[in-house]
Amino acid sequence: MTWRLSALIEEGIANLGASAFRSALLLFVSAAAFGSLAYLELRQGMELTEFTRDFREGGAYVAIASVPGGGISGTRCESLNGRPGVVAAGAWRSTGQATFPTAPGVLFQAASVTPGILRVWDPGQLLGTGPGLVVGPAMAGELGLRAGLIAAFEGDEPVSVSGVGDFSKRNPQAARWALSPVSPAGEFDECWVEFEPGAYEAGRETLAARFAESSADPAVRPYRRSDEFTRDPAGEWSSRPQKLGWIAVPVGLFGFGLVAAWFRRAEAGLYLAMGTRRAQLALMGASESWPLVAAAWGLGFSYAVAAQFLRSADPTVEVLRHAAVTSGSAALLALAMLPWAGALVARGSIASLLKDR
């Protein structure tokens, strides 16, 4: 002799529909809270993603191994390719300065390179897969070279140009270099290695040891000095204040729910006077608040994503996932907490509740 489950759920939904203003206000406040949380995640996530991409493209995880006076093993350097944590590795050596018949008197730097270094210097495109020359962009501009044309050093055989590299981020001085891909056998001036971000520190520390057997006193230096970057993206992300939003937002909404329930004490008292149990009151509250919270999360998250699309770059799947998880967790916690607001306010004397109007 108590409420049917279906009747309790219908009762909650009927109360939701009967108070359009209150429901709309709760929907708006909840959507604003979830949307703000999702937007903060999207904005900071994308800002750090873009910074990290620039950071990485700028050679932040590139290390250079060399031996005083030259003499680093090209074979050992190229053999690093394919190892865990290594993105690309390759070596180069200077072969002096050269001139071209089409630009008499203008000196260009000539260098022999192993294929891997072209992937370190220009990660944006595949270079050095063929036998021809790879030239820097400034040199290509001055001499009118492009992939597929034939060029020849003064006094040498003509060779085809296999590509024009964009070395502006990793090795800008190579803009006026002519690079000839060669076999890794033999000794080179430097070995450049790009690591995965998580493998950089450890990889750099063990790099010298890899060359110690074949080279005397190998030295390893970072391409970028660590003080060139004053930001710590990983640290900023892990200490972001909105990380705790999944707790703060539902707690705030619960406070709002308590206030709303406070103004409905007489209603709660009426239900209790009829023999409704407090747990049933919470179930009724759930059927009243769950549709609101679900709709509010959907609205808020959609609004946040749309705002991020309009503001700047399209959010990546990873950043979207973070925003959905953080705001979704907040919504789930709100789903768990909000139904109890009415039951909590209705504690104590039923007779007193009935007098509160």
Binding site: R4, S6, A7, E10, A18, A266, M274, S349, A351
Partner: protein, 220 residues
């Protein structure tokens, strides 16, 4: 006796004055009982104790000879009692029909059958034409009739009414009290707290309270 109080005293917290003191009372099925007394004499508190809304600080409430415990009170409230309050407590944003159906729903009735019974009771108390109107748009007398229909629809053993005509004019008072007493199902008792001698006169038994103690009409 079906509804019995034994040595019931109550106060709203330690150190507070006793609101009702040492009350022994027996109320039978189908009885019409008026609780009378000046303001502050403990009528509402005694009614709350009788209707299991308030657990007494001392003494016991017995239903059919069985003491009612706090954890079983909610179940007994649903099955044995229905309330009509002075301030016409209702869900003001819901319709008259939905309000009149509430007690039946709380007893486990299906919504459709609850609405059918409630609609008939609304007709009987004279507000059937207002069934679809939100409760907040009803006058005090109309709303009180809706609350009476809610109580009558559930056909409880006792209807507890706390000064149900206290805020109504004389003509409406007579109509409302007639709807409550004459329209009750056979076997349903009414316990009504009132200041109105005319309402009390319609009851078969009048219990008088002074300073929380029964001074007349008790009889344990």
């Amino acid at each position: 006796m079906p509804l019995t109080l034994r040595g019931v005293s109550h106060r709203y917290g330690p150190g507070m004055p006793w609101v009702v003191r040492g009350i022994d009372l027996d109320i039978g099925d189908g009885e019409l009982v008026a609780l009378m007394g000046p303001s502050g004499s403990g009528k509402t508190t005694l009614l709350s104790i009788l209707g299991l809304l308030t657990h007494p600080a001392e003494g016991a409430v017995l239903l059919d000879g069985e003491p009612v415990r706090q954890r079983t009170a909610a179940k007994r409230r649903t099955t044995e009692f229905a309330w009509v309050f002075q301030t016409a407590n209702a869900l003001l944003r819901r319709t008259a029909l939905e309000n009149a159906s509430l007690q039946l729903l709380a007893r486990g009735a299906a919504r459709q059958s609850a609405h059918a019974v409630a609609a008939a009771e609304l007709e009987r108390v004279g507000v059937g034409h207002l069934a679809a109107r939100p409760a907040r748009l009803l006058s005090g007398g109309e709303l009180q009739r809706v609350c009476i229909a809610r109580a009558l629809a559930a056909a409880p053993r006792w209807i507890l009414a706390d000064e149900p005509t206290g805020q109504l004019d004389h003509a409406t008072t007579l109509e409302v009290s007639a709807a409550l007493m004459a329209g009750r199902p056979i076997g349903t008792g009414v316990i009504i707290a009132t200041h109105d001698p005319e309402v009390a006169h319609r009851c078969g038994r009048v219990i008088r309270l002074v300073d929380g103690a029964v001074v007349a009409g008790g009889g344990a």
